[in-house]
């Protein structure tokens, strides 16, 4: 079976799910679409999804969902192979779109890290940096989040199946929060919140639980980091707290990385 598209013959689109360095949480979001999963498996052929089926990797894919960051030497070749097999390549989640929390090692001495963890570092193969998929191949679409939002995933798949552009807004969480009618945790409780600079998608989940946003969807389009930092400073927050807030799952996203670098105190 080659699985290559035969022009003119109607066949269900082939979907592949691929994993690189990650926690599996984003691909699990697909299995968590309990209501849509069986219908989806009829509309598309889930042709490769190692976590769900023994089906071997073969042929071409109409859509490849790619989870995880590139962090080991053999993955460089693998991601190129996925690209070649796929019409649309979609990077899902903070690992795939920004390098994930494992990008905290970027810039550190990886040899040191290895010897901290393993008695025999020479057994282990790793790259110095954890990088997003887009650093290696062309990416057609990105879904943000750690993890991605299920509703956004379903919207994306429906849109690709229908041949239209997915409706995935890139404004800030702050806007979703106001729309949901939550009281602002920053104004009323002085709780630090990354909502003003974080990419929408979660429906302002954290403010709904009396918690400040911790930025798991990464930077929104044109985030005004400086003004948020000034606001935090007025509430008495130390710069290293702000730096730590930015230094998690999207630490290597350009807007967050630049803001961290601009801060005076450098902590781990």
């Amino acid at each position: 079976m080659t699985g290559t598209a035969e022009a003119g013959r109607a066949r269900p689109p082939r979907l592949g799910v691929f994993k690189f360095a990650s926690c599996d949480g984003c691909q699990l979001s697909l299995l968590d679409c309990e209501d849509e999963l069986l219908a989806l498996s009829e509309a598309v052929q889930i042709a490769y999804f190692l976590e769900a089926t023994r089906q071997p990797l073969a042929g071409q894919f109409d859509v490849a969902l790619v989870e995880g960051s590139i962090s080991a030497p053999e993955q460089l070749e693998q991601i190129r192979d996925v690209r070649q097999r796929s019409r649309y390549l979609v990077a899902i989640g903070a690992c795939a779109t920004a390098g994930g929390i494992q990008a905290l090692r970027n810039g550190a001495d990886v040899a040191d890290f290895l010897s901290l963890v393993y008695a025999r570092p020479d057994f282990i193969q790793t790259l110095a940096d954890s990088t997003p998929i887009s650093a290696h191949v062309a990416v057609d679409f990105e879904l943000r989040g750690c993890p991605i939002d299920k509703k956004q995933l379903v919207e994306l798949l429906l849109a690709l199946l229908a041949g239209r552009r997915p409706r995935v807004p890139n404004h800030a969480v702050c806007l979703e929060c106001k729309r949901a009618g939550y009281v602002c945790v920053m104004v009323t409780q002085g709780t630090p919140c990354l909502g003003p600079i974080t990419h929408a998608g979660c429906g302002a989940l954290c403010p709904g639980y009396d918690r400040g946003c911790y930025g798991c969807f990464g930077p929104a389009a044109r985030p005004n980091v400086t003004s948020l930092q000034a606001q935090f400073a007025r509430t008495g927050m130390a710069p290293d707290t702000f730096q730590r807030l930015l230094g998690t799952f999207n630490v290597a996203a350009p807007a967050f990385a630049a803001a961290r670098q601009a801060l005076p105190i450098v902590s781990p």
């Binding site: 926690c23 999963l37 889930i46 190692l50 769900a52 080991a72 994930g100 902590s267």
Partner: protein, 435 residues
């Protein structure tokens, strides 16, 4: 006659969480090597946790595993709270047990229906199973609905099913309202009954033989089936405080794996954690109704055949639904959502029962609450050597089967443990043993 060598090799294990491979090498029918190779790249959590605020551990360590983030959050908060001298109020304790029930359900049901069941009906995966026969389709559908019910608990208490946002050191950010939890009751009640039906289905499957003389290790609590608290106990008579974990178990690096393997210090032997271990060591802590359900399907302890873990997972799911319903019925959002936290220097240990078994965390902090040192031992690191032992021990029962069947059987053996490879590579010992 010259020696014949035979190798059973699976380069990419399917229906497990994370990336692993398997090599089984036989010479003249004798097993020469049985290796579960974990090639998933390490993510160095232990290294980059150093210097972080201990309050960040539930959010950061959750990202080790998208399937069992609650387990990581629970072990993390309890370990840090031990350093800070915090004891949860009854309400907070109940919520932590409730969210754990949700994760057990979600994770076990994922394994039973989507990862394990296809092995017993000879299908590559659950979606293929659903297409193959109408009765399997309705089974998978039921499984997905039960799983969703488990997810709804995690979402109600934690905010979302993968990487919940409501858990913090000291308690929660916000107490769920009574109405938010009460809204779950009808579906949980349906699911509890549905699990009973699935238990009946599980008796129709053919289980390969596999009884082993295992040393099971699990937590044990004075009166509950263990989740967040308890002493470390084992079949071979261990009974220790979790702070002594290190004195009884040690991890070693092996050349073929990116994950360390834990063994007993005493004799270097393997041990077995997870549902079967909890089941065999804590059966007397289960309500009579669950014990009766177990007898009815032939799963009264001891259950020594790892293939039968499928039924034991279903029984734990049945228990978790009953427990969740009981906790919700009694729930009153009393007291604060979280206790005030005052950082101090110290070392804290915690072990909780992740769906896949014992999950141990240890942190050392400075006076400001910054982490000096972190150690995490996930269940799959502990089971890894046991899995290789099973492969070695049970290989003679299947090596004479045709290639494809023998390979499948070897994979099944591994899937019995529901290994979470993503977990196993992410937390490895920080201690350096330089030669």
């Amino acid at each position: 006659m010259t020696a014949t060598t035979r190798t059973i090799q699976v380069d990419a294990l399917a229906r497990v969480e994370g990336e692993g491979a398997l090599t089984l090498r036989l010479r003249d029918g004798i097993v020469e090597a049985a290796e579960l190779r974990i090639y998933e790249p390490p993510r160095f959590y232990e290294a980059f946790l150093r210097g972080r605020d201990a309050a960040e551990t539930p959010d950061i360590t959750a990202r080790i595993c998208g399937i069992c983030p609650v387990a990581y959050q629970m072990s993390a908060v309890h370990a840090v709270e031990r350093i800070y001298g915090l004891t949860m109020t009854p309400t907070l304790r109940v919520l932590r047990r409730l969210i754990y029930c949700g994760e057990w359900i979600e994770s076990h049901v994922l394994h039973v229906f989507l990862l394990h069941a296809p092995d017993f009906v000879g299908q590559p995966g659950a979606l293929e199973m659903a297409r193959a026969r109408p009765e399997w389709a309705s089974l998978v559908k039921t499984g997905l609905r039960i799983k969703k019910a488990g997810n709804s608990i995690v979402r109600a208490v934690g905010g979302r099913e993968v990487h919940p946002i409501n858990v913090k050191v000291g308690g929660f950010y916000r107490l769920p309202r009574r109405t938010e939890l009460a809204a779950l009751v009808p579906e949980l009640t349906w699911a509890e009954q549905a699990v009973r039906d699935c238990l009946d289905w599980s008796t129709t499957l053919d289980y390969p033989e596999g009884d082993g003389a295992y040393d099971f290790v699990a937590l044990r609590h004075p009166d509950e089936y263990p989740m967040n608290e308890g002493r470390l106990v084992s079949t071979s008579g261990l009974d220790a405080d979790v702070t002594e974990f290190d004195q009884h178990f040690a991890e070693q690096q092996v050349p073929h794996s990116n994950a360390l393997q834990a063994r007993k210090r005493q004799d270097g032997g393997t041990y077995f954690v997870g549902p079967l271990a909890r089941w065999n060591l804590n059966h007397d802590r289960l309500p009579a109704a669950i014990q009766a359900a177990a007898r009815a399907v032939g799963l009264a302890p001891p259950v020594l055949n790892p293939f039968r873990s499928l039924g034991v997972r279903l029984l734990e799911v049945l228990y978790a639904f009953g427990e969740a319903l009981r906790l919700i019925a009694a729930y009153e959002p009393e007291g604060p959502a979280s206790l005030p936290v005052e950082p101090r220097a110290g070392t804290g240990h915690a072990a909780t029962e992740a769906p896949r078994g014992l999950l141990y965390h240890r942190y050392a902090t400075d006076a400001a609450g910054h982490i000096l040192d972190a150690v995490i031992v996930p269940p799959t690191s502990q089971n890894q050597a046991q899995i290789e032992d099973d492969l070695r021990r049970l290989a003679p029962t299947f090596v004479d089967l045709p290639e494809e069947q023998a390979t499948w059987r070897a994979e099944m053996l591994i899937r019995n443990y529901d290994p979470c490879i993503s977990c196993a590579t992410h937390f490895l010992r920080l201690k350096v043993e330089r030669s």
